[in-house]
């Protein structure tokens, strides 16, 4: 009996270690495979050239994804302009004004729920609101879609960051006769590091989004051509090229995946290192 219990104990604890390996192996494999298959596409052309034509017989033109990098940078910047400020102030309300109120609780709750809504649904929403009415894919639609996704993420991050600011700071400021809104600014200033890292994580998260973009921004083989026409993006090109039968396109998909992964995982790793030991919300 005793040995049986000891055996069960051993098996259970070993299974936990096996589970851990099962989680680590895919990540290592993804990183190694993307790096080894993508490194071949990494050259100056990748950053400066337009996508090549489909090619069935070598020699194939290599081309690059310069326009996709450009489009991704533009759309992420635009969506940050929408999502970060709205999310920030929304988080200020949740933490500084709404903490004791039902409305504040509801907003916090909805923020959490909205953050879990599939991104394709946001794509469908902006598709019906903007793309169908203007009859064109555009970077505006793409930025609104990504910005919409950013608002709840940023709001939650900010609220958590502000809640971590000790109450003594609020009390000290109010006791000196400082108005509530100046006090709130002071609290924001105190949490600026966590807010900055939270914003970076939100940007990283948005940079890797694909599903909303294919429904809103479309795809283009040209350089950025204005705010009302389809624009290229790295993520859409990864999908488009990976599901094509052409070798030169698939190679570029791996290159784009490597570039994207370096940026997204880079931001994440950087943030964890800076905030080492501290709890990061996002």
């Amino acid at each position: 009996m005793k040995t049986r219990r000891r055996l069960v104990n051993r098996i259970f604890l070993s299974l936990c270690v096996v589970a851990l390996l099962a989680a680590v192996v895919p990540l290592v494999s993804i990183i190694v495979d993307v790096a080894s298959k993508g490194i071949g596409a990494m050259n100056l052309d990748f950053f400066t050239q337009l996508p090549p034509l489909a090619c069935t017989q070598p020699p194939c033109p290599e081309g690059g994804l310069g326009n996709a990098i450009q489009g991704t940078v533009y759309v992420v910047a635009l969506s940050s302009l929408i999502g970060l400020p709205i999310g920030l102030f929304s988080g200020v309300y949740v933490s500084e004004y709404g903490r004791a109120s039902r409305f504040g609780y509801l907003m916090r709750f909805l923020g959490d729920v909205l953050a879990g809504i599939p991104s394709i649904v946001t794509g469908v929403l902006i598709y019906t609101i903007i793309v169908l009415t203007t009859d064109s894919f555009s970077i505006i639609a793409g930025a609104v879609a990504l910005g919409t996704m950013m608002i709840p993420i940023m709001s939650n991050t900010t609220a958590e960051a502000l809640k971590a600011v000790p109450n003594s700071i609020r009390e000290a400021s109010l006791a000196l006769g400082t108005r509530k809104w100046r006090t709130s600014l002071l609290v924001i200033a105190n949490a600026k590091k966590s807010i900055a890292t939270g914003s970076l994580l939100a940007v990283a998260r948005i940079t890797g989004e694909t599903a909303p973009l294919i429904l809103t921004m479309g795809i283009s083989v040209l350089w950025f051509g204005g705010f009302t026409v389809p624009v290229a993006s790295l993520t859409y090109f990864i999908y488009y090229f990976a599901t094509s039968p052409f070798q030169n396109w698939q190679n570029l998909a791996w290159g784009a995946a490597l570039f994207l992964m370096v940026i997204v995982l880079g931001i994440n790793m950087g943030v964890r290192l800076v905030t080492r030991g501290k709890r990061v919300y996002a």
């Binding site: 219990r5 000891r6 069960v8 104990n9 259970f12 936990c16 270690v17 589970a19 989680a23 680590v24 895919p26 990540l27 993804i30 495979d33 993307v34 400020p85 709205i86 102030f89 929304s90 200020v92 309300y93 004004y97 409305f103 504040g104 907003m107 729920v113 909205l114 879990g116 599939p118 991104s119 394709i120 649904v121 469908v124 929403l125 019906t128 709840p152 709001s155 509530k180 809104w181 709130s184 990283a204 940079t207 890797g208 989004e209 694909t210 599903a211 294919i214 429904l215 999908y239 990976a242 791996w254 995946a257 994207l260 992964m261 997204v264 995982l265 994440n268 790793m269 964890r272 030991g277």
Partner: protein, 309 residues
């Protein structure tokens, strides 16, 4: 002077209230827009959800195969992903030496940070060929008496999509379960150990049961994530509207339907059908997230209440 200052005060407050309301407005717009956008097919009622013919050319829009695919891939993801995630969570909270804790948490967080299109790319070119050549034939050979492991083996299939989803939901289930386990008071563990329980008995009897609602909440969140995942699934499921008992068969999901066919939707009814697929996704994931968040917030509140004692 005093009045101007207080005007700034209320102005700032209304600014934040207004922008905080954006969250509520967005939630309402989701439902309103997707509801009105899908009215043409909503009128066909349950034929949309339970019809199994997807034939846009003749305007037959039944999404049952896609609903089936979404549910089945999510179920596979949970069956594979939940035990792994719980193993990781238990390791992190109960077994891990302090030094290993932060690197492992780091790995879990990185798994969450990988963009889903990269999971799709990796799944298509690395995972699917391995599964087709080295895993599925053995499943068919040894478990082939089960209908789910019969039939022609393709690399892209319901099972492959389910497996990639399992990997993708590990971070969310593992991290929230870990938090739930870490919140279990040490007295729970000590009580069981003092009664002579082995470590695994203590974990199973007194730790897991105490953290149960947090774990269930994390599973709901994992389900919501898997059900609505688009890019990895559209690249791995085969995008074929069939209902097959075999997991080796290609299938379709609601999310991959939208991503795959929105460019072909030239008629109003076709567009409406895709929007209604989005509405179904919205309803299911909204519900899963509401249930999970309610459970989590009740946990937090009871913990705050307990900390006053």
């Amino acid at each position: 002077m005093g009045r101007r200052r207080s005007a700034a005060d209320s102005g700032f407050k209304y600014l934040t209230v207004g922008l905080a309301s954006s969250v509520l407005v967005i939630a309402l717009i989701y439902f309103y827009e997707l509801y009105t956008g899908s009215l043409p097919t909503l009128r066909t009622g349950l034929a949309f959800v339970f019809g199994s013919t997807w034939d846009p050319v003749n305007s037959h829009f039944g999404v049952f195969p896609m609903l089936y695919g979404s549910l089945l891939t999510s179920a596979i993801a949970l069956v594979i992903g939940v035990p792994i995630s719980l193993g990781v969570a238990i390791f992190l909270s109960e077994l891990s030496p302090g030094r290993l804790r932060s690197p492992i948490s780091f790995v879990v967080e990185m798994l969450a940070a990988v963009p889903s299109v990269i999971y799709g790319l990796w799944g298509l070119f690395i995972l699917a060929p391995i599964l087709r050549a080295d895993v599925y034939p053995y499943l068919e050979e040894y478990l082939g008496f089960l209908p789910i492991f019969q039939g022609t083996i393709y690399g892209v299939s319901i099972l492959t999509a389910g497996i990639i989803l399992a990997i993708m939901i590990i971070p969310i289930i593992a991290s929230i379960s870990r938090d739930a386990l870490l919140a279990v008071p040490d007295s729970q563990r000590e009580a069981a150990l003092a009664l002579g329980a082995t470590k695994s008995e203590a974990i199973r009897m007194s730790v897991l049961s105490y953290a149960r609602s947090g774990i269930v909440a994390s599973i709901f969140l994992g389900f919501g994530r898997a059900f609505g995942e688009t890019m990895a699934v559209v690249m791995l499921i085969g995008n074929t509207p069939v209902v097959s008992a075999s997991l080796f068969s290609p299938g379709y999901s609601l999310a991959s339907l939208i991503a795959n066919e929105y460019t072909e939707a030239t008629t109003a009814v076709y567009t409406s059908a895709l929007i209604e697929a989005g509405l179904v996704l919205l309803l299911v994931s909204f519900l899963a997230n509401v249930v999970a968040r309610l459970m989590i917030s009740r946990l937090i509140r009871s913990r705050e209440a307990a900390s006053y004692l």
